[in-house]
């Protein structure tokens, strides 16, 4: 019992309670709602959800990691496209080489952007918008605005072959990335530094954290993750798409936010982001079972994002606190508050 209490306490302190509850709710919906409609939930739907996590999870991890450090890296969307293009072009004989090229390209692009942001104290979103346009332009120029087929079709088939019903090598690789970064964030000084920079940049600089290195490192990591995600995704599809559109970014940002990452920085964990991505993927898979039109899933995702933004809004807490204070001062009457405030003022 005390172990349970200890675990729940740790969850609450780590900020993981909301993502865990959201995940449990989504899992319950995923299982229960289709049965209410008389449809069976099969393993294949769980597999579909895991494949969604495999495709977009690394982007959520990259964006989430950036948000923990107090930056927003829009360029993951461009690196996702460019990584796929590079992998298809260079990985014809050796798929591993393609993934490596994509990862290194992402690493370098991220490092350059992160250095710009920290050296010149630039807004991370403007810099990464420039980065996004450059990478998207490169991807579209390399592919001449056409999807580029990947001749080595077997790679994708092997990558996506179901393992233990719901997993695949694709999703296992992505989960391994989550585990690795999760351990790094939780148990190493690097993780503490990242949270410190996101929480209060000036204070952490004074405390001796090398803010520039942390920012560049976070951008490099999210770039590499996006490159790998793009490479694996293009192997799965057996082709690279020059411009994947806005949907991957929506998924990634929503997953990170319902995963308990604070937009203001300093808070969030890899486990939370993984649960956020899984929750969203289960939701989409559920709409897949129900054979709902695409707009339903889109509307629910959009609504979730707005709700997450509102729930994380700093002024909500203020409003609640001031309501409580009014209630405490004059129980039963919220309206006559103006008078009591004057009384305090005089």
């Amino acid at each position: 019992m005390s172990a349970l209490r200890h675990a729940s306490e740790r969850l609450r302190r780590g900020g993981d309670l909301v993502p865990v509850l959201t995940f449990l709710l989504m899992a319950a919906c995923f299982y229960a709602v289709p049965s209410l409609e008389g449809k069976d939930v099969e393993w294949s739907s769980g597999y579909a959800a895991m494949q969604t996590v495999a495709a977009y999870g690394p982007l959520a991890l990259g964006i989430g990691l950036g948000m923990v450090a107090g930056v927003f890296d829009l360029s993951v969307l461009g690196m996702f496209a460019l990584g796929g293009m590079l992998a298809v072009k260079t990985g014809g004989d050796s798929p591993a080489l393609g993934v490596l090229v994509a990862a290194v390209a992402g690493l370098l692009a991220g490092c350059a952007q992160g250095t710009l942001v920290s050296r010149l104290k630039l807004n991370s979103m403007s810099v990464s918008l420039g980065g996004y346009l450059i990478m998207l332009g490169l991807s579209r120029a390399i592919g001449a605005d056409q999807s580029v087929p990947y001749a080595n079709v077997n790679v994708g088939i092997d990558l996506d072959k179901p393992i233990l019903e719901v997993f695949s090598w694709h999703s296992l690789i992505v989960l391994a990335c989550f585990a690795l970064l999760g351990l790094l964030l939780r148990y190493t000084r690097i993780g503490r530094d990242i949270r410190a920079v996101g929480g209060d940049e000036r204070a952490s600089r004074v405390a001796g954290v090398r803010v520039g290195v942390v920012t560049a490192g976070v951008f490099a990591a999210s770039g590499a993750l996006a490159g790998v995600a793009g490479a694996l995704n293009s192997y799965s599809l057996a082709s690279a798409i020059p411009d994947p559109g806005f949907a991957p970014l929506v998924f990634a940002a929503t997953a990170a936010l319902i995963g308990g990452v604070a937009f203001s920085g300093g808070r969030g964990s890899a486990l939370g982001i993984a649960l956020g991505a899984l929750s969203l993927a289960l939701l989409q898979a559920m709409f897949g079972i129900l054979a709902s039109p695409e707009w339903v899933s889109q509307a629910v995702t959009g609504a979730l994002l707005v709700v997450a933004a509102v729930a994380a809004a700093p002024r909500i807490a203020d409003h609640v606190a001031s309501l409580r204070a009014r209630w405490a001062r004059e129980p039963g009457s919220l309206v006559s508050n103006e008078r009591s405030e004057h009384a305090v003022g005089s």
Binding site: K121, V127, G131, I134, L138, R140, F246, W295, L304
Partner: protein
């Protein structure tokens, strides 16, 4: 120009660099210095410029950007064509009002609840796409009536959208400079806490800025629908969103809020359009044009920041 001079006035250096690039490009590119080509550049500035001017309002108000203004453009182009059976003017008014209302609502959530503008606008992007997909049933929308040809016509070889852009810039610039609400918008963007302490209407400023951006997106959507004579959700207008942000940044609007001139945004749009046109005439793909736009975005924000740091 010496290094010290560049450091003192990097914005002048940037403008000089832009001028040099334009002149060299213009002289060295066959077919650039023709009136037909200038008209083509102007035509490509019109609609994007209108969206970018709307985006400028949000940036000045200190709320960074909207990441779904392009979606609002697409949705407005669909509603305009679908509502043409009510008549051209009602279709225009309703589409612009819808854009203003949808974006104003986002501004309300951002202002009153203190929610993050980026997240809220991404979320509303998905919601608008969903609503439009339900409304159109996944099909392209075709005009449900005629009489809107004048919106896509040209006067003296210059498209109507360019005149609309000019009118909007003059009106918004006057509003920003001369009206109390316009001044408040700058102050709220510059220093929100100070503005609040001075009892300025900070929340109202944000709502107005978002609503104006939505109205601009609505106007752009109407012109887009009239020009294309059909509207579909393909792509969801993301390119308008990102290009508008790029134009705002190249135009030198400070991301931190409180500074920026709509006319400079239009100059940014003209510059990007001229460069894209040059690249096109030299046979480069649209991918390369996007890449070059990205390079200029980075250049512009670095230069603006250097100026700010050196001013201290």
């Amino acid at each position: 120009m010496s290094a010290a001079a560049i450091r003192r006035r990097p914005d002048v250096a940037l403008a000089a660099l832009a001028a040099v690039v334009l002149v060299i490009g213009a002289v060295g590119t066959d077919g650039f210095l023709t009136s037909a080509n200038f008209r083509a550049i102007l035509a490509s500035v019109g609609i994007l410029g209108i969206v970018a001017v709307g985006m400028t309002m949000i940036t000045i108000s200190g709320n960074l950007f909207s990441l779904s203004l392009g979606v609002t453009v697409t949705v407005a182009s669909m509603t305009f064509l679908a509502w043409l059976d009510l008549g051209v003017v009602p279709a225009i008014v309703l589409s612009v009002a819808l854009g203003a209302a949808v974006c104003g609502l986002q501004g309300l959530i951002v202002a009153v609840l203190g929610a993050n503008p980026i997240v809220v606008t991404i979320g509303f992007g998905a919601l608008q796409l969903a609503a439009a997909a339900k409304f159109a049933g996944g099909e392209a929308v075709y005009p449900d009536g005629g009489g809107f040809g004048w919106l896509a016509s040209t006067a003296g070889g210059i498209p109507v959208s360019v005149f609309v852009l000019l009118g909007l810039v003059v009106a918004l610039d006057a509003w920003l400079r001369l009206s109390r609400a316009g001044r408040e918008l700058y102050l709220a963007g510059e220093n929100r806490l100070a503005a609040r302490a001075a009892a300025l209407r900070v929340s109202a400023s944000t709502v107005v800025a978002f609503a104006l951006a939505g109205a601009c997106a609505g106007v752009a959507g109407v012109l887009l629908g009239a020009a294309n004579k059909n509207a579909a959700l393909v792509g969801g207008g993301d390119q308008y969103t990102f290009n508008a942000i790029a134009v705002v940044l190249v135009g030198g609007v400070a991301v931190t809020g409180g500074h920026g001139v709509t006319a400079r945004t239009v100059l940014g749009a003209l510059f990007i359009a001229a460069i894209s046109d040059m690249l096109l005439l030299r046979g480069y793909s649209s991918g390369i044009q996007t890449l070059v736009a990205g390079v200029f975005v980075l250049l512009a924000i670095v230069v603006m920041q250097l100026r700010k740091l050196s001013a201290r």
